[in-house]
Subunit: 197 residues, 2 copies
DNA sequence: TTAAATTTCGACTGATGATTCGATAAGTAT
DNA sequence: ATACTTATCGAATCATCAGTCGAAATTTAA
């Protein structure tokens, strides 16, 4: 007889508790600076129990990233695949969607966006999701440039600059909600509609 | 009788050798992931010798940052204090100057710009230099906005977006030299001169 | 040439922290 | 109730470094 559904769900819930605790500790102490003892304490389990649910510290770390990027992708996917709009409109909607996600899980996304740079771990199962998102956005920018809706710069460079804007948005979002108006304002400032003139 | 000038210079040279080796290792393994043994191997000294020149691993790290930010400041300072120009012109010149620095020490500046986020060390003697640079640039952007040379966004947000541009520049610079023309092109794309229209 | 100062280094120490062990407690089904 | 599976945990291991030691090599100055 296998584990019942309830059992499976409870197990998943406990894993989430551990992951949430780990995120707290990672954020305050940094990844290398965090110990499994602290994570155990923070999440309310014994240290050995962590190893019952996860093979290693690295797996805990990877699980946070994978869950995060996957859920961001799941929410973004439908927005991205609407294609009866101009790249610019899609771009605005993507920013709005990201902003919603960021607000719903305070602290998680700063971690998602920064943590991978800080560490040289082996497992990188989250990369595919991250890359899918980057690819779609890059394509979007390329299309926007072709259609003259974005500046005629190199896409890679423009992507970097817009990356800064993203970050500004993420950090801005921590304090106050970001409305569609705010985002359009920003885009109008930084990416003027230069089809005319 | 004190150490001769030659002796002092040789000592400084050896410190630089160690620092360069350390930078290599830090870049490839990350800061926490690097061991003093590796740094010793890479720089061609015995481990104990590192401790003859530096008190601790942290001091090695701090020395890299302090040297780097200080030398960037020293090069930037004269460019920044020319004030018979428009903020926009000064901004272009700053970017050019940074670009020169980046090209002259490949790899160093990615480290300077990213490493401080990765670590929670005590000593932060490099901060004053870093902050001086940030402050001047922020003021410059504020002035630019007042004079209508930059978009009328919040300075902090604009700073973030321009931060992305900086990074694009840094990474771009790795492949090919960046000319004054390139930079002006980028600025024209992203920060149109909207005094008229 | 020789004593003092400077520089070098491999081997040792001690602390820290990830991972494992072995025992115990719930929970479940018969 | 009783065997079997699942879950929990503190204590013991084991590896990895940062940092120290004490001896030796090299350089300098008399």
């Amino acid at each position: 007889m296998n584990l019942s559904d309830r059992k499976l769900k409870e197990r998943k819930d406990r894993q989430d508790l551990i992951l949430n605790g780990a995120l707290q500790v990672f954020k305050s102490k940094g990844i290398e600076g965090s110990t499994m003892d602290e994570i155990a304490l923070e999440s309310g389990f014994g240290k050995a129990t962590l190893y019952y649910y996860f093979k290693s510290k690295e797996e805990v770390f990877a699980a946070i990233l994978t869950n995060g990027w996957k859920s961001l992708w799941d929410n973004l996917e439908p927005v991205m695949s609407v294609d009866n709009k101009s790249p610019r409109d899609t771009f605005v909607n993507i920013l709005l969607c990201i902003s919603d996600n960021v607000r719903s899980r305070p602290g998680l996304y700063e971690f998602l966006f920064n943590a991978p740079k800080k560490v040289n771990f082996e497992s990188q199962e989250w990369r595919p999701f991250q890359e899918r998102i980057y690819t779609v956005i890059t394509t979007l920018i390329e299309d926007g440039i072709k259609l003259g809706e974005f500046p005629q710069s190199k896409p890679t460079v423009l992507f970097k600059a817009l990356g800064g804007l993203f970050m500004g948005l993420v950090l801005m979002g921590k304090d106050k909600p970001v409305s569609k108006k705010d985002i359009e304002q920003l885009l109008n400032d930084l990416i003027p509609n230069n089809t005319i003139e």
